[in-house]
Amino acid sequence: MSLSLAEADTTALETEPDEAAGGLWSDAFKRLRRNPAAIVGALLVLLFLAVAIFAPLLAPYDPAAQVGFGDIRPSYVPGPSSQHWLGLDTLGRDELSRIIYGARQSLIVAVVSVSIAGVVGSLLGLLAGAFGGWVDNLVMRVVDIMLAVPGLLFAIGVAAMLGQSLKSVMIAIATVNVPIFARLLRGSMLANRGADYVLAARSLGVRRKDITLGHVVPNSVSPVIVQGTLTLATAVVDAAGLSFLGLGSADPSIPEWGRMLTEMQDALSYAPHLALFPGLGIVLSALGFTLLGEAMREAIDPKFRR
């Protein structure tokens, strides 16, 4: 039934004491701390970061060494044991060490590609929003065309053009995400163009460039950070997808979660743990970024609560 109705009438009657005054960011942070989803997300992200950064310290074995090769039989791969917590892979390598180093690979690809996408996309959006006219038209048409090609396919195309390497995966994922940031920035430029504080600044004779840099850009920082966090999740998943298809790093001995899933393809019936653990790695890290990103969006703008 109509909830807003009830709200409209009650707000007229009650005056809510304002919370202790604070900046936009500290208020947002307070809301974030009270949200259990944000806590879970932040913990997952922290775990992911710690594992990726301290991989050499955490991994019990060399991820490329076939330490348990002697234990591998046709149609048999040992599962978790006290020596190998997550078991061995089909070539007798320690699965835990590979998962840990895989986190490192995921993090590098995700962070680099999202950073490139964020910077390039934001600049394009800024350009389109600031100049309008044909610049805007051109940029937005290019963005439309990029969106017309399915993301993974686009990445495959870019990766195919640049050859098989980690670099091309990063560029591919970055390219796919450029339109998201371009649209975001352009949108907030357009929205800000008519905003009261911009009009006020203009009426005081502030130049357009200064308004853009002094007002619009700072106001777009938080949505870009939120979008960046959310995009890190899709980047982790996309990187895994590309490497699952064989478009990962050129060195096959470097563990990647996606490629680990390809490598165990024929062993699924007798070694399901080889599908489970890399899968969990992808899901948990992506879930962490998603939870954190959504919670940040809610914290900054409570309207997004749904």
Binding site: M1, L3, L5, A6, D9, T10, A12, L13
Partner: protein, 379 residues
């Protein structure tokens, strides 16, 4: 405040006798939300509507008049809302009726016209469809029969070229046309009670008068009872037989139209009248706004809610709850007794709002009456 809408006089005051069609007794509505104080939006409201009678519910935004009507129609959300009291319609207690029976009554015996015709029509259905669905639901009409009846209804509410409008979508109609269409929908089943919730607030001034004229005509023609919810005393003056003035969830004064306008007793009513521009006022005489805003209230539980804004307040007002009682000093010759909730009512020689009256807000800070305007406006 919208200017007074001048209307020709109502033809006749219906007979005072007969059983009431709707009797609202001690109606209360409380909004409960987790982590917040409960808010009592409607508090012990009692009034009745006789067949053919037009009753006004008057008050500022937040006075609880709209919530009262939604509670009677059972249109409030089920969660977070507690409704108490009784609302007896034609012998049935609406508040305890099974949901299905209530659905049968809504739209057929009791209908409602809402404030904003722009948003109250479904944008993706044709106007005709929105009328015929009521005819199908309550009068079992089908196909051409429903269509013809709908076109007749559209022309009856004064929509030109009704056959064409029937096929059109709400966005193709003007605001006034849309309100006419909504009235056509509400009258589709010849209801015995029509509730109009600020039906003219969202419209242009010139259209307002037309819509009110239309409502009056239809009510007189069909003998439908009407509850008119408004903040506009001009609307009340032209339309209502009796008037209930609400403040902060409670009725503070009830009387017939002539009695109320001639002898307002509650300082709030008097204040409302004082802030209406009058054609018969002397030139240069300033309007008297009610100081403060509707949020400057005290809880009814142990005071008069209007006390902080009241020019007539006495010591009792801040420590004791006034009851709604028959006014011993007034005997209304036509509309029955004059009911009043006040310790120190306005008399003929008491000025309504003394200029420069100092005002004390609930917090104890002095308010500057000039800075605060009447908390009037749309809900």
């Amino acid at each position: 405040m919208t200017p007074v809408t001048q209307l020709s006089d109502v033809t006749s005051v219906p007979s005072a006798g007969g059983a009431p069609l709707l009797e609202v007794e001690d109606l209360s509505v409380t909004f409960t939300r987790r982590g917040r104080r409960d808010v009592r939006a409607v508090d012990g409201v009692t009034f009745s509507v006789r067949p053919g009678e037009t009753v006004g519910l008057v008050g500022e935004s937040g006075s609880g008049k709209s919530v009262t009507s939604l509670a009677i129609m059972r249109l409030l959300p089920s969660r977070g809302v507690q409704v108490g009291g009784r609302a007896t319609f034609d012998g049935m207690d609406l508040l305890s009726l099974p949901k299905d029976s209530m659905r049968d009554i809504r739209g057929r015996d009791m209908a409602m016209v809402f404030q904003d015709p722009m948003s109250s029509l479904n944008p993706v259905l044709t106007v005709g469809r929105q009328i015929t669905e009521v005819l199908k639901r309550h009068r079992g009409m089908q196909g051409d029969q429903a269509r013809d009846e709908a076109v007749t209804l559209l022309s009856r509410v004064g929509i030109p070229d009704p056959a064409r409008r029937f096929r059109e979508y709400p966005h193709q109609l003007s605001g006034g046309m849309r309100q006419r269409a909504l009235i056509a929908i509400s009258l589709a089943c010849k209801p015995r009670l029509l509730i109009a919730d600020e039906p003219t607030t969202a419209l242009d001034v010139t259209i307002q008068a037309q819509i009110l004229e239309l409502l009056k005509e239809l009510v007189v023609d069909s003998g439908t009872s009407l509850i008119m919810i408004t903040h506009d005393l001009g609307v009340v003056a032209g339309l209502c037989d009796s008037v209930n003035v609400m403040y902060s969830g409670r009725i503070v004064e009830t009387a017939s139209r002539y009695e109320l306008f001639g002898h307002p007793r509650h300082p709030y009513t008097a204040g409302l009248l004082g802030s209406v521009p009058r054609l018969d006022a002397e030139r240069g005489q300033p309007l008297q706004p009610i100081p403060g805003s509707p949020t400057d209230t005290l809880p009814w539980a142990h005071a008069c809610a209007f006390q902080p804004r009241c020019a007539n307040r006495v010591d009792r007002c801040a420590s004791e709850t006034p009851l709604l009682e028959r006014d011993p000093d007034r005997r209304d010759p036509i509309g029955g007794p004059h009911w009043l909730r006040c310790f120190n009512p306005v008399t003929g020689d008491t000025p309504v709002t003394p200029p420069g009256a100092e005002l004390v807000a609930p917090g104890g800070d002095a308010l500057d009456p000039a800075a605060e305007q009447v908390g009037e406006g749309d809900q």
